[in-house]
Symmetry: C2
Subunit: 182 residues, 2 copies
């Protein structure tokens, strides 16, 4: 009797869930999402600072809005939120690892990250990079969405410019061709 | 006297704003942002539907959260919001234009967009594409951010899987190699 019920259940289960899958997660699936590579910059009390981001995309037209995703622990993120403005410099495939290291692997709390980089100042007073970049955007922060480890910031574009014709550096290209292999 | 004042103003203006720029916008700068290419799918009242998206990225760990951006007029967007769930199929470079046309250039209101496509059903009961894809994600909607023309949906990943090793199709690759040139 027990076996019959068990068989019945198995048949029933298999009929219901034959097409379904176990809800397992493979974290390496995340590597197949496509990202760019950017320097975000901010200015507060006369101090310029910047960080690396891989997430910047357009989310609306008229007015044009961009969204960036920034780690919470980041000083540039604090400066952006307090000042309400940020610049995006879109990095190209020629960007040296040193630029990524400078902006992405140390804190502006300890160093002047902009020292030695070729920059200009946009209308909002913030810097943007003019080397190994093909576009810049200035944005005014409109909205903040707290997502735990990161914050999404929605910005309205106040200035934008094409800076060159070299292809944008994707995050996949960075991992393939720029990041040193140890 | 008028000229002297005007000169003074010009000097003053030039001293203050010498490094600054006019806040012009170049919409082509937006072409330099990097995006992927995805099919978003949803299910409601026994009906499957899907659409093309170029914006899907990870925004947080533990739990893993993805953000998608969807046009408001979209039926898949309505189905996702009402049902609270979506799947993402990450398209690869081999994807034919026909797939983009099918999911991106007609409405599920008029046609069964899934007919003729190779799919499987994930644990949440929604379909995902198994051809010309290298990863899938199932997500439960956590948050909705209205951005005018588009809606940002934050989803918690409930299932994810690698489906192949072919490179992901970026939006730039789609424009260069897949979209027909007329």
């Amino acid at each position: 009797m027990f076996y019959a019920t068990a068989r019945l259940c198995r048949v029933c289960w298999s009929a219901t869930f034959a097409e379904q899958e176990k809800p397992a997660q493979d974290p390496t699936a995340l590597y197949n999402l496509s990202y760019g590579l950017f320097v975000l910059s901010a200015r507060e009390s006369g101090k310029d600072n910047g960080c690396i981001a891989n997430t910047c995309f357009q989310v609306a037209n008229d007015p044009t809005k961009l969204v960036i995703s920034v780690q919470k622990g980041n000083l540039t993120r604090e400066m952006i939120e307090r000042s309400g403005a940020f610049n995006v410099s879109v990095l190209t495939e020629s960007v040296p690892f040193e630029t990524i290291r400078n902006f992405g692997m140390q804190s502006g709390r300890d160093t002047d990250k902009l020292a030695g980089f070729e920059t200009k100042r946009s209308y909002n007073g913030l810097v943007y990079l003019t080397e190994h970049t093909n576009a810049m955007f200035s944005c005014k922060v409109l909205e903040r969405i707290d997502l735990g480890s990161h914050v999404l910031l929605v910005g309205e574009v106040t200035q934008s410019k094409v800076l060159g014709k070299e292809p944008s550096c994707t995050y996949a290209y960075y991992h393939k061709a720029i990041k040193p292999k140890f």
